[in-house]
Amino acid sequence: MRQLLQTIAQRSEAWVELRYHARRTKRIAVSSGRLEESSSVRLAGVGVRALVDGVFGFASTTDLSEAGIAHAVHEATAAARASAAGKRERIDALARVTPTTGEFSVTTDDPLDAHSLEEKLALAMRLDERIRGASKRIVSSTISYSELQDEKVIVTSDGAAVRLVDAKPEFRAVAVAQKDGDQAMGLDSAGVSGGFSDLFAKRSAEEMADKAVALAVAQLGAEYPRGERATVVLDPGLVGVLSHEAIGHTVEADIVLSGAITLGKIGQQVASERVTMCDSGPSTHLPHAAGEVLVDDEGVRTGNTVIIDHGVLRSYLHNRESAAHFGVEPTGNARAFEYSDVPIIRMRNTYIEPGASSKEEMIADIKHGYLLEGLGGGGQADSNAEFMFGVREAHRIENGKVGELVRGVTISGNAFEVMKSVDAVGSDFQWDLGAGHCGKTQLAKVDAGGPHLRCVVTIGGRQG
């Protein structure tokens, strides 16, 4: 395939990027004792992007013959020409890069295919039963397991020619508890780049099922918090959510150019000097981050991009087009979810660097506040860094001690204000956003994390 794509690319007068992507998806879902899904999807196709007179066009095909791919090149070129008349700003050039060549593969000692379908089914059935048997309050249980296995070949007119092999499994446990007509849900999940045992390296499947039960049951009858501004300790999961969702999107160069709050702020102090935030293609600190991307979909080798260095905004996240616009090196953030998607700027593994404090020290100093753990039921952030997230598990902190659980907690604020309020950063580190997808007109597997840290946020509550 690599040779075929190279031959076709060489023939094209316009700059082209050809991306062959074959994906195998498997999914198992069990709910309340019944198998809901055991499925497999095989996708294969080539996506072609052409740059003609400073305008991009894109076409995709499932016809993998030489003629089929050549026709897609023709269509992409024609699409670019069709836009040319109405396009105001032309792309002068793409940032130059050293062409990446070679083979890149996700590392694991325990490949997904070494585990049988029967084993994965049995695991899902067993854990679903475990949830239902754990408490008489449990009225619903769901276990889902899925895996993506990718093979990509990326070839560009200016010399990139790489083959990539990747595997990303994920696991999810959901429990719903009920008492006196009140229902609450508990959830735990994991997602990695790697093999089967890598998925359960941090927490076993049993631990995740038990955690889902404990969370669901504990919320029944728990109090809702009072709305207030409060000092909180965030766990690595929420630190990851804040880094990815509230700050990360505002430094994606396409969002920056659309008028994000970060425009023109490179070199400025935007966070506490205790905060260093990065977005990395490879896994850093700990292996198997779910957003692992070794070469991006423009054929650019990825590294670790320092976004905020000791509180100072240092870099946006770029593709080759935006890097040329800003006169910087591309950061390897161009990603497409499937063969038919256009590569756009996406995050990979976004995190805050560990500091020197322990979680216990951070809690001990708080007179009144909250210990907040995990993302619970979504949230949203805008390009002005205003955010609002649901919290999965929240405990009050009174006089330096962790107290009772409160439910329905949301946190909100301006992410940069929150980052300025950081006065302690933990020495620990976890990836914790590996399950699920990030959505930005198309999906992407990402991860995010960091240490525990202490900051000030607005706690959403109920008004009288």
Partner: protein, 445 residues
């Protein structure tokens, strides 16, 4: 791909799966052709074209089921084999059934042959028109994102129960996401969507105009006030806060999972008497209109809630068998996935009071045009930021407000709806009025 070719492909996959050892089979095919012109920051971003045929095979070995799909014409046999292997490894479930073949009535008005020749150039012209309109309205406006797309699809289905159906459809879809910037002041972003089944019915102007007007209107917003009282939801916000709950609770799959509180609620009041909710897969020119569902069962108009009373859940063949009731034809999903359950054209019927009258009855309240936050369909708790919000004082919209949090419980809110507007707007496949909720926590940011 013609509907005949796709039907033949499905029939072939059906036979292949049988040969591999399946007792019953459903083969579902989707062939799509799309042209999309994307807008970014008042300029064209990229044009793209996409063509794909996907075949999904559901194999039954006894009462065991497996599903496999592919877009690779060379891998259809492999997918048929996958489906049988997956079925054989699965536990049996008596509810795994295929629907019997029944006559259905086809719908009209969802296919315009003119869409076949609608070119990338023509699509680009429409997108340029969207940008030009936004620019001509006000210098402060930015069409941050937008899109104009032409979508042609053929669906076909063949089952071992003797169902063989196919249908073609066309859809022109467009959206605008506008923001206004005046010096350092930035408005909330507003999103509007439009769609048409025929080239003749395309109307991009009202969509762009509404997004731009809403963005301009929210410029200069300042902090609101904290109180406990009524809020008026725009069709968009009503969709985000309430429609999700109704869809989750009426999904029979969630009832079987033990996740729905409306398990035994059919015939009881779940909403204010002002509320009637209908799902109509045959709505004239609706975005989700089609003759048959993902399992080949004919679509019908279904009243989910009538005068506040829960009338029915949404079923597919599996859940109807499990709950020993009528299949409502709500099998949903693509050729990539097993049939799930989902709505078609979902609507809350219009009320008798105009939006302005609803406002005039409010002493103090908030008009919420967009909701950004969390709406938990299980507990019903919602909590989030009211975007593009306006303070209502003494029966008038007094000023735009920002950073205001609204929180409440959607189960209670549904029952407490005190007003349903006579005006309605279409958001994707949802048609919603303005809804006035009572007793909501409003907190100034």
């Amino acid at each position: 791909m013609t509907d005949k070719t796709l039907t033949q492909l499905c029939a072939r996959a059906l036979e292949e799966t049988r040969k591999r050892g399946a007792d019953e089979v459903e083969a579902y095919g989707e062939s799509v052709r799309t042209i999309t012109v994307a807008i970014e920051k008042n300029d064209l971003q990229i044009s793209r074209s996409h063509k794909e045929t996907m075949i999904g095979v559901r194999a039954f070995v006894g009462k065991r089921v497996g599903f496999a799909s592919t877009n690779d014409p060379g891998a259809i046999d492999a997918a048929c084999a996958d489906a049988v292997v997956l079925a054989k490894a699965s536990p049996a479930d008596d509810r795994n059934l295929l629907p019997e073949a029944e006559e259905i009535q086809s719908v009209d008005g969802i296919y315009d042959p003119g869409a076949e020749t609608f070119s990338t150039q023509q699509a680009t012209q429409r997108a340029v028109k969207m940008i030009d309109l936004a620019r001509s309205m006000d210098d402060r406006l930015i069409l941050g994102e937008g899109e104009f797309s032409v979508n042609l699809a053929t669906r076909a289905l063949a089952t071992s129960k003797g169902i063989s159906r196919s249908e073609k459809e066309s859809l022109f879809a467009y959206f605008a996401l506008a923001t206004a910037r005046d010096g350092e002041r930035v408005s909330n972003m507003d999103f509007q969507f439009g769609a048409a089944r025929s080239a003749e019915a395309i109307e991009v102007d009202p969509v762009v105009r509404r997004a731009c007007e809403n963005a301009l209107g929210s410029l200069g917003a300042e902090a609101g006030e904290s109180f406990h009282g009524p809020i008026l939801l725009s069709p968009n916000a009503a969709l985000e806060i309430l429609a999700g709950l109704v869809l989750f609770q009426t999904n029979a799959k969630n009832v079987l999972r033990g996740m729905s509180r409306w398990k035994d609620a059919v015939g009881t009041a779940v909403a204010s008497p002002l509320v009637t909710v209908v799902d109509d897969g045959r709505a004239a020119k609706g975005v989700a209109t089609a003759s048959f569902d993902r399992e080949g069962v004919g679509h019908e108009r279904l009243e989910l809630v009538k005068g506040g009373q829960l009338m029915s859940l949404m079923h597919n063949t599996y859940t109807a068998a499990a709950m020993k009731t009528k299949n409502t034809g709500h099998a949903a999903g693509s050729a990539r996935s097993l049939p799930g359950i989902g709505p078609t054209n979902f609507e809350i019927l219009a009320g008798k009071t105009s939006k302005d009258e609803l406002v005039s009855e409010m002493k103090k309240g908030v008009l919420v045009t967009r909701f950004s936050g969390r709406a938990d369909p299980i507990s019903g708790d919602f909590s989030g930021v009211a975007k593009g919000a306006y303070l209502i004082e003494n029966g008038r919209i007094s000023r735009p407000i920002t950073g205001t949090l609204v929180a409440g419980n959607a189960f209670e809110a549904l029952k407490g709806i005190s007003g349903v507007s006579s005006e309605r707007e279409r958001v994707f496949s949802f048609t919603m009025p303005y809804l006035r909720l009572e007793g909501i926590s409003v907190t100034a940011g």
